[in-house]
């Protein structure tokens, strides 16, 4: 039998702590809210940005990790909007805690609608990485991740940091490289609100890191493979 009496990983946490917890698991309410949010998001992407997606066939069944270039807040929104079915329900954007999880209201929106998990830049503990890695495999999740670490300020993709390797090196979890074009022009970090503009998302064939050790060298090699794959999609 598959089912066992296992409480939610976040059972026993107070409301505010739960929103910021990497152990947060979705219930029916969050699934319904997330579905409504994705429906609105798809309408917005279609109407406001005429989103064009190529390579959707490369998306494997969960678990997998999506990595992409990062130049705008539109990036995570776009990537979460294109996922469908089981992958969409299991998708978590790994978002900057110091940007999206600073207030209770912001945390509630990030948690319930976007289903984001907070990453606290420059102070991520090894235990947090271990939790993310364990959940990726055991809960068959989908992570949306931007290995540059922050939005680029000039529209030019920066090098990838090795954190992605810590999540997947030595596992069979595929990494799906994506390149989003047009997001920087539509909503650069310097603007408060987005403007209309065409977005083109290219989804590449999955990259694997199961042959790499989960060591610093393995993580860096994983990041290098991902960066190469994303750059190839960008035509750079």
């Amino acid at each position: 039998m598959e089912f066992d009496l296992r409480p939610a990983r976040d059972h026993g946490l107070e409301g505010a702590d739960r929103l910021k917890s990497l152990s947060r698991e979705r219930g029916l309410g969050s699934l319904i809210l997330g579905r409504a949010w994705r429906t609105m998001l798809r309408g917005y992407m279609r109407g406001f940005h005429r989103l064009e997606v190529t390579g959707r066939e490369h998306l494997p069944p969960p678990p997998f990790v999506i990595v992409a270039n990062h130049s705008s807040h539109l990036d995570a929104l776009t990537l979460s909007a294109v996922l469908r079915g089981e992958a969409a329900r299991r998708a978590h954007s790994l978002a900057a805690g110091d940007t999206f999880f600073t207030s209770t209201l912001g945390s509630a929106f990030a948690a319930y609608a976007v289903n984001a998990l907070p990453i606290w830049r420059k102070r991520t503990r090894p235990s947090e990485i271990a939790t993310l890695r364990e959940r990726l495999l055991q809960d068959r999740l989908v992570y949306i991740l931007f290995p540059e670490g922050t939005r680029c300020r000039d529209g030019v993709m920066a090098g990838f940091q090795p954190g992605i390797g810590a999540l997947v090196a030595g596992t069979e979890v595929p990494i799906v490289p994506c390149y989003l074009d047009g997001a920087f022009a539509a909503w650069p970090p310097t603007r408060k609100y987005p403007r209309p503009g065409k977005l083109r998302l290219t989804i590449g064939a999955p990259v694997h890191a199961q042959d790499l050790p989960s060591t610093r060298a393995g993580w860096e090699e994983t990041a290098q493979r991902c960066e190469t794959a994303v750059r190839a999609l960008s035509g750079q």
Binding site: M1, F3, D4, P7, G12, G15, G27, L28
Partner: protein, 325 residues
């Protein structure tokens, strides 16, 4: 539908007045204990937390009863969904969103049947909802875990949907207020009495593996207090009806007293089986909503059908208020 004013019945006035008085007295006693340094700091803290939570909970419980039947039905619906949420997250049923969704629909439907005053639908929903839960996940073609998710879904619906909705259906009787207030307060008092008698007398444990803090003295003390109080209040509420005979009133009191403690032990069994202490964190000093309202889960249907046997609910009132011709 005939409507009575909130304080038409003297038992309503007595219960609301006594509850306010007891809370004020409890605050006074704990305040004196704190000033005199009596009891351990942990005990005083627990007493403050529990009393503080009651100050918030009792108005939330009694307010809808005094406001009117629609308020009661709304509150019972929310209570059922809140209990389901804690239950599904504790047992893992939330990982089966389809089953959870069916149970939510069942809870809404049971309370709608009460709002509509449609007893036939209210009763039919038990087998119908169980049937839908039973077949609901078959199209997913995932037999692994079928028995457990179906069993948990049925248990959840029976407790938080069909069971609790009996409180909603009681409001179809114009004189529902004293009945509901009697059940809500005596069931809550049963918990407090068990705690108090257990602390004062101590002695052998009731079910140490299930609930290490409950003693036989606490259980018997609570049963005695609850039985006497329920029988006394019921003698005023049901005066002039076939139920107003001492043996039936005492039996009714015993049933409420046993049902309250059985609900508590039932939830303790669930928690021990899963290996958790509390079902949630929303109520300081109590834990989750279920930790507070577990005693009501079994009392609601039992009390309803006992009273229904002798007196009935809303028999002289129009039925199918919404769906009728």
């Amino acid at each position: 539908m005939i409507r009575q004013a909130a304080f038409d019945h003297p038992v309503t006035v007595a219960i609301v007045g006594a509850t306010a008085g007891v809370l004020a007295f409890a605050g006074l006693v704990i305040g004196v204990m704190t000033l005199l340094g009596r009891g351990t700091p942990d005990l005083r803290r627990e007493l403050w937390l529990r009393t503080g939570s009651w100050c918030l909970l009792l108005p939330l419980m009694m307010g809808p009863v005094l406001l009117g039947r629609e308020w009661v039905i709304g509150a019972v619906t929310l209570l059922g969904i809140a209990c389901l949420r804690e239950f599904d997250r504790a047992t893992g049923l939330f990982r089966e969103p389809l089953v959870t969704a069916i149970v939510v629909i069942g809870i809404l439907a049971a309370n709608f049947a009460a709002l509509d005053h449609w007893y036939g639908f209210f009763v039919a929903l038990w087998p119908l909802t169980v049937g839908v839960i039973t077949i609901g996940t078959i199209p997913l073609d995932r037999p692994a875990g079928y028995v457990q998710r179906t069993a948990l879904g049925i248990l959840a619906y029976m407790l938080f949907g069909a069971g609790l909705a009996h409180l909603s259906f009681m409001t179809n009787e114009p004189g529902y207020r004293p009945i509901l207030l009697m059940l809500l307060t005596t069931v809550a008092l049963s918990d407090v009495a068990a705690f108090t008698f257990g602390k004062l007398i101590g002695g052998p444990k009731l079910c140490p593996a299930t609930s290490p803090n409950k003693s036989i003295s606490g259980a018997l003390g609570a049963l005695t207090v609850t039985t006497i109080l329920v029988a006394t209040l019921a003698s005023f509420i049901f005066r002039g009806t076939p139920m107003a005979q001492p043996h039936w009133l005492i039996l009714f009191g015993l049933m409420v007293g046993i049902g309250a403690q059985a609900g508590d032990l039932m939830l303790s069994s669930i928690k021990r089986d899963i290996g958790i202490k509390d079902m949630g964190t929303i109520l300081p000093g109590h834990g989750g909503v279920l930790d507070r309202f577990n005693s009501l889960l079994l009392v609601a249907p039992a009390a309803f059908h006992f009273i229904q046997f002798f007196v009935g609910f809303g028999l002289a009132q129009p039925a199918r208020l919404i769906t009728g011709p």
